[in-house]
Every structure is written in C-alpha cells, then in structure tokens.
Amino acid sequence: MALIESKENEIIILTVNGNLDAEGTQAMEEKVLALLEAGEKCLLFDFSELDYINSSGLRILVLAYQRLKKSSGRVAICGVKDYIQEVFEVSGYDKIFPLFRDREGAVSGM
C-alpha cells in the first residue's frame, strides 16, 4: 500500500494505492489522525488506485467523518472501483460519504 498526500484548495487529498489490509489500514489511520490533529478540515480519499478495503478500512473513514462533523469539516471519496463501490452500498456508507467519480469532480463539488 502506498499513501500519497497532496493539497488542493484547502482540501487534503489522500491517494491510496494498493491494498487496505490490516497493515495498510493502520498506516492510513495514523495519517488520518495526524491530519485531524493538525487541524485539517477537508479530506478527500482518492480510491482510484485502491484494490482492496475491509471493514477496518471503512472504520477509518467513519472516524474521520465523526471527528470532522463536529468541526463542520468534510470527508469525501472519489474514484472507487465498482466492486469496492458495492462495499459502500452494502455497508450503507454510500449514503454518508459523497462518492465522486473522479478527483476533479470531488475538488469542485466538495
């Protein structure tokens, strides 16, 4: 798993490359907590290169959502592959997180 961080219009974009297995999820959790700690208010997860996620990975997204909701922040996701989109639908999280087709749409729509 590789985690690439960038910033566009006050939006932190985390591009996750590869598998969010237990190890990858832990790395992402540390990164997300550090960003929240630093006071970032807008997180966009770019999952266009994400091949795998499980419920622990979803939990990190929920954690970011819950923390940022208190401070009027935002969390969005873009570029999910269709079989990963299904995980969002089955978990009901497609109704909680704005899911954008691509990064450009997310950055302008968030």
Binding site: D21, A22, Y83
Partner: protein, 156 residues
C-alpha cells in the same frame, strides 16, 4: 473426495500469530485464477475470509498462545465453499447482532459494530455454523453465477 464429482479443493493452515491476509490472499487469488472465477467473486471471498479471520484473532482467544486456523476452499459446480475451523471461543455469527444501519452514523452506539459480519452475510449465499469438539466450524457458500451479472449492473 466425493465419488464421481468434479470438486476442486485447496486447504491450508494459518495461525493467529501470522499475518493471515498475506497467507490467504494469494491462495484465494490462485484458486480464482485456476478455476476461472470472476474477479468480483474473488474479492468477495477474500473479504469474507479477512473479516472472519480478523474476528477470530481479535476476539476469539482467552490466552496468548498460538492457535491454528484451518481453511478449506472448494469449488463444486458453480458453488464455492469456504470452511473455517478454529479452536477459539464459541462464536456463532448467525446470532451476532446486525449493525444499526438505520440509525444515523453519529448516533450509533457502536459506529462500525458488526459491519464485517454484515458484509459477510450479504456477500455469501449460505452460512452454516457448528461447534464440534471445542471447535468452531463455519461453512460459507457462494454461488458464482450470481456474480456474472451483478444486480443493477446490466451491460449497456
């Protein structure tokens, strides 16, 4: 093996002290490749194994010893069966409470409680649980034909 039936079987043993994902993920991948399973089905099987094995390791043991977790994957016609056998504390996922999907996220008592189990129940077609000789035996069945044309995803 059953008489006169074409059945493909892969078995392997893991332990709670291993990085199990690294062990089973290539096994499932290879099983899928060998038998021409759709990538989406391979993902479902991997995810279900991941959620269940993680549950066993995180919540199943009252001691700090090493414990075996035995997995068998078999293909019989269009049906894949995953069998997981462990000596962890009794856990029947069929009796596990569902997550509070209807409650708004910020009001849920357990934000992600039971989500892994929920994913497993939704992605598998049939689940059987037995407790035998101090072991949990879980049988998960999935029909592969369901995967060819997933719901709501008709070809253009």
């Amino acid at each position: 093996m059953e008489q006169g039936m074409t059945k493909y079987v892969t078995s392997f043993r893991m332990t709670n002290k291993m990085n199990c994902f690294r062990r089973f993920q290539p096994e499932v991948e290879q099983f899928g490749l060998t038998h021409g399973l759709p990538p989406k089905a391979v993902f479902h099987l991997t995810l279900c194994l991941d959620e269940l094995v993680t549950n066993i390791i995180d919540y199943g043991y009252a001691d700090f010893d090493e414990h075996p977790i035995d997995v068998t994957i078999s293909l019989d016609g269009d049906c894949v069966t995953i069998r997981i056998e462990d000596d962890a504390e009794p856990f029947n996922l069929l009796e596990a409470p569902d997550p509070e999907l209807e409650v708004p996220l910020e009001d849920r008592l357990r934000p992600i409680g039971g989500m892994g189990i929920h994913l497993v129940k939704r992605m598998m077609d049939q689940i059987e649980y037995a407790r035998e000789n101090g072991r949990n035996i879980l049988l998960l069945k999935k029909r592969i034909c369901n995967e060819c044309f997933p719901e709501g995803e008709k070809p253009a």
